[in-house]
Symmetry: D2
Subunit: 214 residues, 4 copies
């Protein structure tokens, strides 16, 4: 993680800090933000957390409903929804005080449709969408922009030159899905656009999709 932060810092010629947080744990989030807020107020919060999938620690999707353990279910709600709640509670007071700030929550197709084998993910992502709407209603009049971005499909690899320079000779070829997915730089452009929108014309929800997934 710190290596990635360093790469970004070099590329962007900016100070970058990376903190490891357990989003589902109120205390862990609070402690992280104590450090963050000591540096200054938060201008933008992007909540992009997702339970890792398909590795040793997490079950692959789709998972039959009866194979989802209560722990895994709670974990999914904690990461997708409760973590967003904890983070929002940390940054909103400062944003309201200054009358500005942006919070962007990342959703997926599982935010608006329940799929077989994704009950844990859908619960968490539906909940996150409900949270973003509630917060928008409460805090947009106070000058805090709250948006929900539904990324429908897979985020692929960067296609910018930087990517190829990082990719060594021994890199495996990109899987087809990643090659066809959304370019993360392109997604970031839309997040940036949302952040810089004029206050009279804010986006509360938008979809982003790679046509290769239609």
């Amino acid at each position: 993680l710190s290596q990635l932060a360093e790469e970004i810092a070099q590329e962007a010629k900016a100070q970058v800090f990376a903190l490891r947080v357990d989003c589902g744990d109120a205390r862990s989030v609070r402690e992280a933000f104590e450090g963050v807020l000591s540096l200054g107020p938060v201008e933008v919060l992007v909540y992009n957390a997702c339970e890792p999938r398909a590795d040793d620690a997490a079950p692959a999707h789709p998972t039959p409903f009866l194979a989802v353990t209560p722990d895994a279910f709670h974990r999914s709600l904690a990461v997708s929804a409760a973590g967003a709640f904890h983070c929002a509670q940390q940054v909103i007071p400062g944003m309201v005080e200054r009358g500005r700030g942006t919070m962007i929550f990342t959703g997926s197709s599982a935010s608006v449709t329940g799929f077989a084998g994704y009950s844990d993910l859908s619960c968490g992502k539906f909940a996150l969408r409900g949270l973003s709407q509630s917060l928008a209603r409460e805090f947009q009049p106070a000058g805090v922009h709250i948006a929900h971005v539904i990324i429908d499909g897979v985020i692929g690899e960067r296609r910018s030159p930087t990517r190829s320079s990082r990719a060594g000779a021994g890199d495996p070829p990109l899987p087809a899905a990643a090659a066809a997915g959304a370019d993360p730089d392109a997604v970031a452009q839309s997040y940036w656009h949302v952040h810089t929108q004029d206050k009279s014309a804010w986006t509360q929800e938008m979809s982003i999709r790679s046509p290769s997934f239609m």
Copy 2:
């Protein structure tokens, strides 16, 4: 609770058991269903849980977001969504085995729209809707009917004769909202209709609303 069960039993001339369960606690749910399942398979599960409001133990709604404690937030997710997950895991195996059964989850207007001051409720109710859709996709092909009913507005008092016979001379007049709300017997008719629908034409979602709330 047991007094209510007795009243229902007398009125319906049927055996009625009432169990007090903490829906948010997997163990409490599992233990309750051990008792239930020892009586026979479950034909219908109606999941109607809701955090009590506006009494001493629970905050009134609307609650400013910054006044919602992490505990209250977790509690709301636990009651609205995790409890439904726990109950579904208890009854689905038997329903799949027999190729029949009905689960009805009760939602509200907060299931489809986030309102200011209801972030905890919206999170839980959105999540419950996501769960119901996922379960429908996975288990309806196996013969288990899974429906989500969006009750938009307040459930009022019963208007049937029984009600007036129960109401004593000293009863306070009904508040206007209750008088105008949905008759619980009428709501029950729709739940019953959903349960008895022919398998070739199942309802996955329906709204119920008193026109006095339009």
Copy 3:
């Protein structure tokens, strides 16, 4: 058509009239209702019109967008949406006057999602849904129940005894889709339920789907 009316009349031991109307033509609708209203007030209106498909007169679906003629497009809007408007204008005055009545509009999966090759159908069906919501908001407080039923999938053949008695020896076997589709009698049960709901707990929208289409 009159033969079908006769069959229904015999089966139901009731008077049945069938009128052929061009739903998209305000005059044709008005003239038909002059006859209807001379018999008495309308208790229930079920608007179930659909452009015929896949026969000689109508293009099969999916139709490439560039192959949809302006005439076919207008026709689809006229049948799906304008016809419902014309019919509603004929029956609402009487329903409002009597403070009762039911209108049920039939939608489909194309009412809530646009599919490639169904632009004409989606336009008309989306429009019909918007109409039903507007009418519900305006007239439910006046005692007129307005519902939109999303039938997701194919209506199949009746599975009741009547069906087999009508099917002659030379009948072709049912196509698989029809066999798996929703039993029209089962669909009718849900329409009937909507019509007979208590006024305090009306359904504005419900989905109906055969699990074989999930």
Copy 4:
């Protein structure tokens, strides 16, 4: 209209042509595009048509449903939905051929919710949304970006310096609604963003709202 075109041309130092078209008339649209396409291929189509309101020629909103004439209803469908169909048919062949192009359809809160007194508008706007989804599914894989923007609330006056320079001493003060509405330049920024999005991460739908309307 031509005066407005001239103002824009001067401000933008670009060639600007304004054509008056009856969107609901296939022939009128086709003739207009013959002229347009003779200048070169269309890069962006913004379909922003709306029946004028509250003047002598058009009924004010909200209009009681029974006061909406069949002509006014057809007119609303023609302008909101059929016009978009006609325009799309004119520009899509060229866009598909070149494998690029953007179409943006403007919706409103009446695109997703039916309101009492807006049945004509809701029908047309719902239909337009269905059209945009169908076209997106069919043509995004061919490289044509199709988006639907839900502008929820009123477009206000420009707040840029240009505006005040145009406003003379005798100008009436802005009505409160206009002052609080979305700045048209800000809305245009979002349309421009949609047009310039990378093809791997296209927005199909986004909302735009002034927080003063929440």
